[in-house]
Amino acid sequence: MTWPQHIIEQLKAYRIRFLSYIPDAIGEQVLKLARQDDFFDILPLAREEEGIGVVAGLYVGGERGAVLMPTAGVGNTVNGLASLAIPYQIPFPLFIGLRGDLGEFNAAQVPMGQALRPILESLRIPYFVLERPDEVDTMVEGALKLTYALELPVALLISTTLAGWKEEK
């Protein structure tokens, strides 16, 4: 299986049916598969913080959701994470396509790329970096297990090592 297929299979195994997203080239590799699978119900967002509200509403309504976004979008979600997901203890996986890191061509992506891990650490959100195809299945399963055990969000950072970087120089 490819790494996006592993993610899809783990989402299904954990009954995570609702995917909310802001598109990026990395997350799209997962969404492309999800769109072909009747199990999933996909909601396009307009701004990333909405996804935190949506997944919280799904959860208290009895459904599990995941949120997918690019690195830049994490900056837009900080208050939603800090004031809703964490204090109300809303578990969900947050899939983040890494930008501003290895192979970046765009200087305007880099500061947020550098701030990403410190932001997650300062919010005490556990995160795991997906780098090797043969680790994806185990790491995603472990992260999903952790988020529902902890009843808090857990982030999965999809690296360019795994998903590829933009050709542009």
């Binding site: 119900d41 396009p44 967002l45 909405e50 208290v60 009895g62 204090p87 203890q89």
Partner: protein, 189 residues
């Protein structure tokens, strides 16, 4: 002009077990005063996210009406949530916006509805067609009752006066969440 507390009392009096997501500030304070019930989800912060959370809840519970009690300042902070909800058009969603044209809790500073913004027009522009902008209690009661009976999504912009709310709902976020989920018959997922 509508009085927020009086209109909120009407809302809860019409409901049985339908859940309400109440935005931070006066929307949730008056909901608590009108009637504290386990199906009330009180947001203590996260300005703007009541609309998004209500959308998620409506998606999770398609066979039940879901009510959002929002404020103009909060919605203006997450205006794109209207276009997202309109992309989905959940028939069970009733989004009530108390519009007093000010940030009442922080001293009455004007919101953009005090200038030229019109939330009803913005909702129509986002793609909603069942949109009511209402200034009187009787009209509010008619609109809300209709929204409960007929498929939506409904957007009800209620033009209210300025009245500070005194109610203080439970403060523990996890208590609010667990009580709410239990009232819907949901165990931790």
């Amino acid at each position: 002009m509508i009085k927020r507390l009086q209109a909120t009392r009407y809302v809860v009096d019409q409901l049985t077990d339908e859940p309400i997501i109440a935005s931070l500030g006066n929307a949730k304070f008056d909901l608590f005063t009108a009637k504290d019930r386990p199906q009330n989800f009180y947001m203590w912060n996260s300005m703007g996210l009541a609309s998004s959370m209500g959308l998620g809840l409506a998606m999770a519970r398609p066979h039940q009406k879901v009510i959002i009690l929002d404020g103009d300042g909060a919605l203006l902070m997450n205006l794109n949530s209207l276009t997202t909800a309109a992309a989905r058009m959940p028939q069970n969603l009733i989004h009530v916006i108390w519009d007093n044209r000010q940030f009442e809790l922080t001293g009455g500073q004007p919101t953009h509805t005090a200038f030229r913004a019109d939330l009803g027009l913005l909702a129509r522009g986002a793609g909603f067609d069942k949109v009511e902008t209402i200034e009187e209690q009787a009209a509010f009661e008619n609109a809300f009752s209709r929204a409960l009976q007929e498929p939506g999504p409904w957007i009800i912009v209620a033009l209210i006066g300025s009245e500070r709310a005194t109610g203080r709902p439970p403060k523990s976020p996890t208590f609010i969440k667990h009580r709410f989920m239990q009232s819907l018959g949901i165990s931790p997922l």
